[in-house]
């Protein structure tokens, strides 16, 4: 009984372990420290976006604009670095722009009663347009100033053998975990997703919390944009296309309900790792990228069906 309870509570984790066992049987080169660090580094960008997405989905919302915010933030950041802006100024400005774009979507949701899907679809389209206008459809290089070298470290550097993006994702995870589990803000996020009307009457400022979760999602998308731009030493106008779907997939794989109110940030981290391991496995097993998409969709479907069955037998 205890084992069954544990299994139902931790379907995503068990899925990840089974996946890793299967892959290591199929391909001996999977099990190496280098490959693991590689998976973590590739996963970190999606994980960071997905953790912001978790906040929004817990309030029963969705944020489709993260991919566009990533690209816009990356473009602005690259041009600032290219113009020799001090590193911290460039980073904070970029994060603030991401948060402001997210807050704008959140305000449309809160004050005009627009569905989050529609509000962020509008955001996704307009911001992507703004990226293309801003970049004129061409990549923006981070340039040759001294600051560009320091900036590169954010995407390509290591501390004690661990890739810096992985460390950043780890810090983001700890902060998100703390906020969701041990602060008033976190409790309000769950409360709104669980029962918005009651939350309102219990004195929760629902509009403010909703704007804040979209701002968090936007800021984390911008952070992901910074890391991607740093690693590539340039901002691509098409960066982040369809990233919102990978982020949503990670959240759902992690067992968070799209209806809101139920889910854990640890689940999202595991969900992102499942996608990362799957991508890596299909790559080292030389599966064509066309088949990879089919396989990924299949795994997500399987995970969600298993999760639903687990919940209904509770």
């Amino acid at each position: 009984m205890k084992i069954k309870e544990f299994a139902l509570e931790n379907i995503p984790l068990i899925g990840l372990v089974i996946l890793m066992i299967l892959v290591s049987l199929a391909s001996p080169s999977f099990l190496s420290v280098d490959n693991f660090l590689n998976i973590l580094r590739q996963t970190s960008i999606n994980a960071i976006i997905a953790m912001g997405m978790t906040f929004v989905i817990l309030t029963a919302g969705i944020d489709l604009s993260v991919g566009s915010i990533l690209a816009f933030a990356g473009a602005v950041c690259a041009s600032m670095i290219g113009a020799d802006t001090p590193l911290l100024v460039a980073l904070f400005t970029t994060l603030a722009i991401g948060a402001a774009l997210g807050a704008a979507s959140g305000s449309i949701v809160s004050f005009f009663g627009v569905q989050p899907f529609i509000a962020t679809l509008v955001g996704m389209t307009m911001i992507r347009g703004a990226v293309l206008v801003y970049t004129d459809g061409r990549p923006i290089s981070t340039g040759d100033f001294e600051v560009a070298n320091a900036f590169y470290e954010l995407g390509g550097g290591y501390v004690a053998g661990i890739p810096i993006p992985v460390i950043i994702a780890g810090v983001v995870f700890l902060v998100c975990w703390y906020v969701l589990n041990h602060t008033r803000m976190g409790r309000h996020v769950y409360a709104i997703g669980g029962n918005e009307q009651v939350a309102k009457l219990a004195g929760v400022n629902v509009s403010a919390v909703k704007i804040t979760v979209f701002a968090i999602s936007g800021a984390l998308a911008a952070l992901a944009g910074i890391i991607l731009t740093a690693r590539l030493e340039s901002a691509q106008p098409t960066a982040g296309l369809a990233y919102e779907l990978d982020a949503i997939a990670a959240v759902v794989l992690g067992g968070t309900s799209l209806m809101g109110g139920r889910g854990r940030i640890t689940g999202t981290l595991i969900g992102a790792l499942i996608i990362g391991v799957l991508n890596n496995a299909l790559n080292i097993m030389d599966v064509s990228s066309y088949f990879q998409m089919i396989a990924k969709g299949g795994v997500i479907l399987l995970a969600v069906v298993l999760d639903r069955r687990g919940k209904t037998t509770e």
Binding site: R187, H188, Y190, V198, K200, L201, A202, V206, T212, G261
Partner: protein, 260 residues
């Protein structure tokens, strides 16, 4: 200088389409009382509660709480002023623990924003500790101590009715609106609910009660307002109401036998 009115309702009117749910209703609730609103189904009791808690806006009239006009302000602002409520149909965060359910209401007296939550962890920790302490007190008052870690969705109905009250108390209200707290409860649970309502009142919280169980209403109320078709049929102490011929004819009927 103490005003003798905690809540003043003046010429309140609300219609839905062609139906007038509340028609020119006026009454005052004095502080420290259990004040009950009774009347047949459809008399407008829940509509009245929804206007008092800011969910509906009245078409006409005024609602003053501690002399502040609360018409037109948001539900969470009404709550911040000290008006909190429970529901006729149980409203709960079913996927959260009992303690968390109550802690959602605990924040109104604490003032840490997200930025300081990110920057000043010690302040956040203290706030969490205070909220938890206050939530425990609210739970203890409702005799829910032993359910603290349970998920709300797994608990029986009678316990959830009390949990709803604990959550409403966590807002630290001056006025608690209770919409049919005894509905669906068995006799023992109803007795416990009656004792709880008195305890809340003795703790200095004014209670505005809507309830169909006349035995409970007559036992627990200081004053009673009888509604019919959205307007006042009678108002007075339980004894006065039971003697009022209009009320007996229109509503109480055979239930007079519950009189003390």
């Amino acid at each position: 200088m103490t005003t003798m009115k905690l809540l003043e309702v003046e010429e309140l009117t609300k219609s839905f389409g062609g139906v007038t749910a509340i028609a020119g209703l006026s009454f005052d609730v004095p502080p420290g009382n259990v004040y009950s609103v009774i009347g047949p189904n459809g008399a407008g009791k829940t509509t009245l509660f929804n206007m008092l808690s800011g969910i509906y806006q009245p078409d006409e009239g005024a609602i003053r709480f501690q002399s502040n006009d609360i018409v037109g302000i948001q539900p969470h602002q009404v709550a911040a002023l000290g008006v909190s409520r429970t529901f006729q149909n149980l409203q709960m965060f079913f996927n959260m623990s009992v303690l968390d359910n109550v802690m959602v209401g605990c924040h109104l007296r604490t003032r840490t924003g997200l930025l300081s939550a990110a920057l000043r962890l010690p302040g956040v920790k203290r706030e969490e500790r205070e909220s938890r302490e206050w939530a425990r007190q609210a739970l203890a008052m409702c005799s829910l101590d032993r359910y603290i870690g349970h998920e709300a969705g797994s608990l029986p109905y009678g316990v959830l009715k009390r949990l709803e009250i604990a959550r409403a108390l966590a807002v630290q209200p001056k006025l608690l609106l209770m919409d049919e707290p005894a509905a669906g409860l068995n006799d023992t649970e109803t007795m416990e609910m009656q004792a709880l309502i008195r305890r809340i009142c003795e703790a200095g919280i004014t209670v505005l009660l809507v309830e169909h169980n006349m035995g409970l209403v007559m036992q627990v109320s200081d004053r009673i307002l009888v509604l019919d078709y959205g307007s006042r049929l009678a108002e007075g102490t339980p004894t006065e109401i039971q003697k009022d011929r209009k009320v007996v004819e229109a509503y109480l009927g055979g239930e007079v036998k519950y009189a003390m």
